[in-house]
Symmetry: C2
Subunit: 117 residues, 2 copies
DNA sequence: AGCATACTGAACCATTCGGTTCAGTATTTA
DNA sequence: TAAATACTGAACCGAATGGTTCAGTATGCT
């Protein structure tokens, strides 16, 4: 299996584990937004939202730029590629396991039939 | 966009945010294992590992069954389908954003060219 | 200049997390 | 029956989380 950056996966899965932060990502997918706008949308103090954005930024899922007194948040460049890849490879292992199980079941069925004949 | 079970995503992304737990999943994809085996593999007390397994079980990623004095852990039935779907839909939004940007850039280029002619 | 806006940082708070130890209980095995 | 094995649960610990308030600073508007 491919080797992923442990810390990076830690950070982005942790970032995604909060419903507010997933909401922020969906929001930013629709349109860039300032901290104030996000804070209002999610009924939270500016400071609180700034922390969430910080977590998302740390995970590379969001980038921000301050022009004048407004900090604008956009989706980051990462695009969750590694995370999707990790999940996908896990899913493949999972499928493999159950395919193997299927084969065992099939084998048992075949045997049963053989015994019966 | 599809509606996902908020709490379930919370639980499974949180479960995935720890490298040890991701390791356990990979391990279980290869073969079922007891708590003791997992604890040894990850250099951790039984109690510690039991907690990790509990988190994974809570998230539906792992199931366990105790026969005699041994609790055997297997991959859960969930298979991370919802999580993959969430990430995928996010990726689509992300792509859409950048496609839109591309169009803007194209439009600007076209205009520039028109002006130049 | 003077006020409002938008963010920033420090400090605090309760809760959760990742881990431990220690003291059980239940099941094998000798 | 006695000892070893495998887990379980409670209690504790330090660090991280998710949130707040409060007191700034920097910027923009009149």
């Amino acid at each position: 299996m491919v080797q992923y950056a442990k810390a990076r996966l830690d950070a982005s899965f942790a970032a995604l584990s909060d419903a507010t932060r997933r909401g922020v990502l969906e929001q930013l997918a629709r349109a860039d937004a300032s901290i104030t706008e996000l804070a209002e949308k999610f009924h939270m103090t500016l400071t609180g939202m700034k922390k969430h954005v910080g977590v998302l930024e740390q995970a590379g899922l969001v980038t921000t730029e301050k022009v004048g007194r407004v900090r604008t948040c956009k989706l980051g460049l990462s695009g969750l590629g590694d995370e999707a890849a990790w999940i996908e490879s896990y899913r493949q292992l999972w499928d493999a396991r159950f395919d193997a199980l299927d084969k065992v079941v099939e084998e048992l069925k075949r045997k049963e039939k053989d015994d019966g004949e």
